[in-house]
């Protein structure tokens, strides 16, 4: 185990995979000389050279499609989309090409493509630069959607992503890049998809999150314990597709209450899927409707107070829990 920052764990995962398999290469905007806009690729250009760490023009659709093409020809490309906000100009490539070719071709071709992108609000970047669209990607069959909350998971899940024969959308929360955590040194350490992690155990309520919201759940759990004598299960989904609902259900069957937390807008968001599945699989165990604590239904405002109000907070989670008792 070594303690490192999220961004360094992500870089390590890419480094190890590039060293392990020469088919792996990276491309993206400013991942080379600039070092990546969130510094996740810093140093890799020097180590691997411009062929395997390729700076690209500002052409998201072009480079994602190029990643699909290179994957069709046997390479394992990682395409970095600087932020999830810019994935919208490349969405057709992700949905109509990457996610479907294996199926459409009747299994003839695979698309081992890893798409990394930074997500999330909270930095006063305004309406077009603060999206959390993890749930949108999770909606499309053919994709695997990964949203790590801790450096160790980030490394194990990203390394696992490079072994997946079909496309993986790997989404990193900008607020977590600086987060420190224990990371296994063993280059063989992988984290399997579809396995949620119980990061804290309790009796009174189940708090479900992924990526950044896991930490809100955890802080809320601490507040509940400290101020209200309540204990909570905190579940980190780790991957949205495949979704490990079984772990959530087992927890709810003990706690009989659940709150789902995500940064994204509540209306039509992924929290609704989780809430609906909890109802479907644990209806008779629920003492209260599953609550959703999510982003407010507004384009993200620049002003800090408004943005804070627009995003879910641990206080909101605590409030939601108290409201269901």
């Amino acid at each position: 185990m070594t303690e490192m920052r999220m961004r360094d764990a992500i870089r390590e995962a890419m480094r190890e995979e590039m060293l392990r398999d020469e088919r792996v290469f990276l491309m993206g905007e400013d991942i080379g000389a600039y070092g990546g806009s969130y510094a996740c690729t810093r140093g890799l250009l020097d180590e691997f050279g411009p062929e395997r760490v390729r700076d690209t023009p500002i052409s998201e659709s072009g480079i994602v499609g190029a990643g699909v093409g290179a994957a069709l020809a046997g390479f394992i490309p990682m395409v970095e989309i600087m932020t999830i906000n810019f994935s919208l100009v490349a969405l057709d490539q992700i949905v109509n090409n990457a996610s479907k070719l294996h199926y459409m071709s009747g299994g003839q071709v695979n698309v081992p493509l890893v798409l990394r992108m930074a997500s999330g609000g909270g930095s006063q970047l305004g309406a077009t630069h603060s999206h959390s669209l993890e749930g949108m990607f999770a909606h499309f069959p053919g994709l695997t959607v990964v949203c790590p909350a801790f450096p160790g998971d980030a490394k194990g899940l990203l390394k696992r992503s490079f072994r997946e024969p079909n496309p993986v959308v790997f989404i990193e929360h900008t607020a977590l890049y600086g987060l420190r955590g224990e990371v296994p040194d063993d280059p063989g350490h992988l984290v399997e998809f579809g396995q949620a992690a119980v990061v804290r155990s309790g009796r009174d309520v189940t708090l479900v999150g992924y990526s950044g919201s896991v930490h809100q759940c955890d802080r809320a759990a601490e507040m509940l314990a400290a101020e209200h004598g309540l204990t909570a299960d905190v579940i980190d989904l780790r991957t949205l597709r495949p979704l490990d609902i079984a772990t959530v259900i087992r927890s709810v069957q003990r706690t009989n209450r659940a709150v789902v937390v995500e940064d994204d807008w509540k209306f039509g968001g992924f929290a609704g899927e989780i809430a609906a599945q909890i109802m479907e699989h644990a209806f008779d165990w629920l003492d209260a409707p599953v609550a959703r604590v999510c982003g407010k239904d507004v384009p993200m405002p620049y002003n800090r107070n408004l943005e804070y109000a627009a995003l879910p907070s641990e206080e909101d989670v605590v409030e939601a829990v108290l409201a269901m008792l």
Partner: protein
Amino acid sequence: MSVSEALPAAVGEPPGGDLQQRFLHEMLLIRRFEEKCAEMYARGKIHGFLHLYTGEEACAVGAINALRDDDRIVTHYRDHGHALARGVEPDRIMAELFARVDGTNGGRGGSMHIFDAARNFLGGYAIVAGHMPIAAGLGLAAGMSGEDWAALCIFGDGGVGEGEFHEALNLAAIWKLPVVWFCENNGYGMGVPFDDSLANDVYKIAAAYRMPSVRIDGMDVLEVYSATQLALAHCREGNGPYFIEALTYRYRGHSMADPELYRTKEEVERHRQRDAIQRLKRSMIADGLLDETAYEALVARVDAEVDDAVAFADASPEPGLHTLYDHITKEDGEEPR
């Protein structure tokens, strides 16, 4: 960079008699296969969108015959002709159109998405220009693999209006990727004449990316073949991409649903006079490579191939419902919980 309307045929090697026989055979096969498809569609054997290739045969046959087996191909949804020219069995293509298990894609893809990975035929794509960045990626892979195969990307004039055209050509140019961009300019994007939708001639826009760009007669299979040979040589020598605009024409509507309100019967007739098959037939007869009886025999042989394809397709079973979740992320998937 060279922008020319001169025939590059001189430079590529001229196709000999055997090759011309082969071109004639393949063009006829495509012609009759497509006409049979129209019939099968009318009979309710084929469903969904069906875009036929009649009139454009010289493009597929000329361009694809210039390729090596290890060259990769991606094309658009009007793809039967390209698949046939690549040597994909008519049986398996027809079976795919009939949505049967013996179809190229096991009945999952349909007319717009014929794949034959074993032949490096990496698919028909139905999002206009959506496959152009994929071609750039194939070219990137060729370069990184150190091999000298190239990617052939076939698309229509309408695709030039999409942003992917620009992004893909730019990537290919700055990275000197071995991609032959082959634009089948049949004069229309559905019902819109291409000169209403483009600011300049296609090959001139392409030339702005500083790659060689030529406009050729897409109704002359020999010219298409030679131009593509030339383009491939350019790519294999590591000189980067090459652009070909082939002027052609589709005889039928855009798809089976097209009321064809946007063009006259006369216009179509005019173009039929340029028919690529008749043209090759005439020149082969003039060169003593063919006579009427031999031609009739070839037609008969092709019709037999097409009938066999229909019989094969008809005999093939439909995929079972238990296979619904196969090939999504796992080979034998099951319904997610």
